[in-house]
Amino acid sequence: MTTGQQALEETVDLAVPTHMTVSGRSHTLRVEPWTSLLDLLREGLQLTGSKKGCDHGQCGACTVLVNGVRVNSCLCLAVMHDGDAITTIEGLGSEGNLSTMQQSFVDHDGYQCGYCTPGQICSAVGMLNEGHARTEADIREQLSGNVCRCGAYPNIVAAVKHVMGMGQTEGGR
């Protein structure tokens, strides 16, 4: 029942064999060269946790981890990730088994509408992997590629600080 995937396989003969691991699951796919990683995830694999907010690398809602590094998946062509390990929000934790970062977002109300949230969380995890954030100002700067129109920033920062063991100061409740 995966229409997008069927279409990818059937209608176009320019498709390129691509292998990738998505959130621990191995996929062997035939992908059109013009398909973005984001569209492959959302429409092809029906992993809609990664969001489309601009399709231009300007909002960060599509942030996923590629081999542990955060990227805007709307700016990547899927075929360029042959052999890569992709982690999406679905791979960080599930509704009944949340990761520490996901739980911290719940505990600090680090969202409102929830649409930018998977990107915020993947970006925060990627930022921790990078290891350059030391202060609250660092967190704000290094998460500024992820736009939250609801304006949940103070709570997002509080959630990330909690995971970093920085405790509660301004912005936390």
């Binding site: 997008g4 300007q58 929000i89 109300d109 998977p118 704000r140 998460l143 129109r149 997002i156 912005g171």
Partner: protein, 744 residues
């Protein structure tokens, strides 16, 4: 009412779904026969489509159809078929692909449908459209001579200005202190991060399930059925999660009609997602110019107020919002004149955007009040207290509650307002000038008719159902709290269903009225269930409640116990076990109590205090500190309530410093139609924000005493920041946003 949940910090019950990607938004539902659609947007602001060549587009592998006004399926003929619940009643709503006429830049001119998204997108770039362009006007400065006075309401609750009070012209002429200034606010775009989208799933029996980005499933259902001649019973609209809206989804947007039209014609499921730049052609906050004149005594006592407000609108709908009225509402002044005018231009119809009208109106008057404070040498807080109104000045009615004085006092104390230096340019931090400013805020808190259903299953699980939406406001959680409170249940036993046209009808999710309206309906439905449970409980053999009446008992901790003696109780489980094994279901419709509310008006109020640092060389502004003190009635979920205010303040920072849609008038088109060039606040723009909820009891506003908080958090923020910038720099900027070029 007992309060084991109300007023506490409750994590959102839909939180785990949101942080794990399990929450499904409109573009995230699938069908095995799915087609994808992409809109082709028109390139001119006014004129006609001359020709459309689709030959190249149809050669794309996977192409299904290109719809345009030339080959579109049947659409309704009568104008009334396109009037959604929020449409101006005297307008002619845009009909997508109806005919060749172009009313604004970016209007849809064709719809490409294909087997894949990529194929539809490729098609959209190959459709060749030629136009017969007519002259257009998108510049308010030049269109101003065509301004029309607003005389009557054309949308529920949107009032024309009140009658003049006293003689403001004479009082102004006689006033010892005079202030006359113009205040310009730009077009702003809602920009929720979720793209507007509709997924139409065609079921086997040819009925449709439509997943739409909307603030009202019933409004979407109404419009799509009327416009396309569908039967309500054949169309179910669902919208369980909405990725932000801020008013932009109050009126169904054109992707709903287009996706459904394509699905109906092709008998296939269709997904249509708009692009970010197309979202700049939907609704927007209108550009405004307010001419304000204040006359005052030398001690700052207001003697005359005049606000002549001008706002841009489209040519096909005379949409207007209430702007000038906010000037005359909140301050005691015997002589006041408010005028509202609209200017029709070749633009898309503006729409409600978070605190529509109040945002601009309050910004102007609260900036003018700061200027009056400077002119009379008064402290800005003292000036406001001196002119404080105990009655709604526009309607001459009592407030159901107004704890604004407590907002001023508590906000000033937390902010340490007394440390402010009244003279500009006196405080520095490194290379930055430091300034502090404040402003008041006000927004309505109405109650609308709403319905809800409560169903208590024999296992003690309660399901609440209402057709309202949760656009990030926390509706799921607040309804669970109210229901849990009413029946003494823990949140884990309450399920909330929203955003489905098959659920009881609720008003549009907007206007800060959802807690007030739907919350009251939910509470009353639960109370009706409670009465039935009580009957079961008191009917048990040896029931300790045998001689009690309903008002003698309370529902706490899954027990029905005597208020006078909590040791005498029946457990909910025991009461339900004595029933017939069927769920107890009650549906109620609740509306305002006109008898009780007669003679009163209800508003939320705020006092906002801001501290800024302005770099003297570069003119860059940092809003380092904001304290927002809110009088919003009873707070139901403190955590989500605080988040609403935080979000409002973040919007205020954007409004004050960043947001502006800029039109190239040569083409009549918004130029910065993306998130890289239309700046909204990002994380690094936001610093310390403190929120205070002052105690405010209100037994008149609605039975639960809560006022909505979605909009008040924004109102007043831009003025507070602008006033702080004046305090820092001595520069008064009366044109938003206050960008660095205006400061250096």
């Amino acid at each position: 009412m007992n309060t084991h949940l109300i007023g506490t910090d409750v994590n959102r019950i839909d939180g785990p779904a949101k942080v794990s990607g399990a929450a499904k938004y409109a573009a995230e539902f699938f069908a095995s026969d799915m087609l994808y659609a992409v809109v082709v947007s028109g390139a001119i602001a006014h004129g006609e489509v001359d020709s459309i060549d689709t030959a190249a587009a149809m050669k794309v592998p996977g192409a299904m159809e290109v719809f345009s006004h030339k080959n579109r399926p049947h659409m309704a003929w009568f104008n009334k078929s396109y009037l959604d619940e929020d449409a101006p009643t005297d307008g002619k709503p845009l009909r997508p692909l109806y005919d060749e006429k172009i009313h604004h830049s970016g209007q849809p001119v064709a719809l490409c449908v294909a087997e894949t998204f990529e194929a539809a997108r490729a098609m959209s770039r190959l459709v060749e459209v030629s136009y017969k362009a007519l002259t257009h006007q998108t510049d308010m400065t030049f269109a101003v001579q065509e301004a029309k006075k607003v005389e009557k309401s054309n949308r529920a609750g949107i009032e024309p200005p009140p009658k003049n009070r006293g003689n403001s012209a004479q009082a102004y002429a006689d006033a010892p202190v005079k202030l006359a200034k113009g205040y310009l606010s730009p077009t702003e775009i809602h920009n929720p991060i979720e793209l507007f989208a509709t997924t139409v799933v065609v079921n086997e029996d040819e009925t449709m399930t439509i997943y739409d980005k909307t603030q009202s499933v019933s409004n979407s259902q109404l419009l799509v059925c009327n416009a396309l001649g569908l039967y309500k019973d054949d169309v179910r609209v669902e919208s369980p999660f909405v990725g932000g809206a801020f008013g932009s989804a109050l009126r169904p947007q054109y992707q709903l009609i287009l996706a459904t039209m394509a699905a109906k014609a092709l008998k296939r499921s269709v997904r249509l997602t708009l692009t970010r730049d197309q979202m700049f052609t939907l609704s927007h906050r209108p550009e405004t110019l307010q001419e304000i004149r204040l006359g005052a005594d030398t001690d700052g006592t207001l003697l005359a107020m005049h606000n002549e407000s001008l706002q841009a609108t489209s040519r096909y709908e005379n949409y207007f919002e209430v702007i000038a009225n906010w000037s005359g509402l909140s301050y005691l002044c015997e002589n006041a004149t408010m005028e509202e005018k609209t200017v029709s231009m070749d633009i898309s119809t503006p729409g409600d955007m978070r605190a529509p009208g109040a945002v601009q109106g309050v910004w102007a008057i609260e900036t003018a009040m700061d200027e009056l404070a400077i002119a009379t040498g008064r402290d800005p807080v003292d000036l406001r207290l001196q002119n404080y109104a105990e009655k709604d000045q526009n309607h001459d009615k009592k407030y159901s509650s107004k704890e604004l004085k407590a907002c001023y006092a508590q906000g000033a104390a937390m902010f340490r307002w007394n440390e402010r230096k009244p003279t500009p340019r006196t405080e520095r931090r490194g290379t930055a000038l430091v300034g502090r400013g404040m402003a008041g805020g006000v927004w309505e808190s109405p109650q609308m008719p709403a319905s809800a259903k409560a169903t208590l299953a024999p296992d003690g699980t309660l399901t609440i159902a209402s057709g309202t939406a949760d656009i990030g406001t926390g509706t799921y959680t607040v309804m669970a709290i109210l229901a849990g409170e009413a029946l003494g249940l823990p949140l884990a036993k309450v399920i909330v269903k929203l955003g489905d046209s098959e659920l009881p009808v609720a008003p549009l999710e907007g206007g800060s009225w959802t807690v007030s309206s739907v919350g009251t309906a939910v509470t009353e439905a639960c109370k009706a269930v409670a009465e039935k449970v009580f009957k079961l409980a008191s009917g048990l053999d040896d029931s300790p409640l045998k001689h009690a009446s309903f008002k003698d008992v309370e529902f706490v901790n899954e027990r029905i116990s005597l208020r006078s003696d909590a040791a005498k109780f029946v457990t909910l489980a025991a009461a339900l076990a004595s029933g017939d094994g069927e769920p107890i279901a009650e549906k109620t419709k609740a509306g305002p109590n006109f008898l009780k509310q007669h003679g009163y008006k209800s508003y939320t109020h705020s006092a906002v205090f801001a501290e800024v640092e302005v770099d003297e060389d570069f003119g860059t502004v940092s809003v380092c500190r904001v304290v927002s003190a809110i009088a919003g009635g009873r707070i139901i979920n403190h955590e989500a309530a605080r988040s609403q205010i935080l979000g409002g303040v973040v919007w205020g920072i954007g409004m004050a410093l960043q947001e502006q849609a800029e039109t190239d008038h040569q083409f009549g088109r918004i130029m910065n139609h993306n998130l890289a060039e239309y700046h909204v606040s990002v994380n690094a723009d936001v610093h310390d924000i403190e929120v205070i909820f002052v105690k405010e009891e209100d037994n008149i506003v609605n039975p639960i005493g809560a006022k909505g908080l979605g909009e008040i958090g924004l109102v007043g923020v831009a003025a507070a920041i602008g006033n702080a910038i004046y305090n820092a720099t001595g520069k008064r900027i009366r044109e938003l946003p206050i960008t660095l070029d205006k400061l250096i």
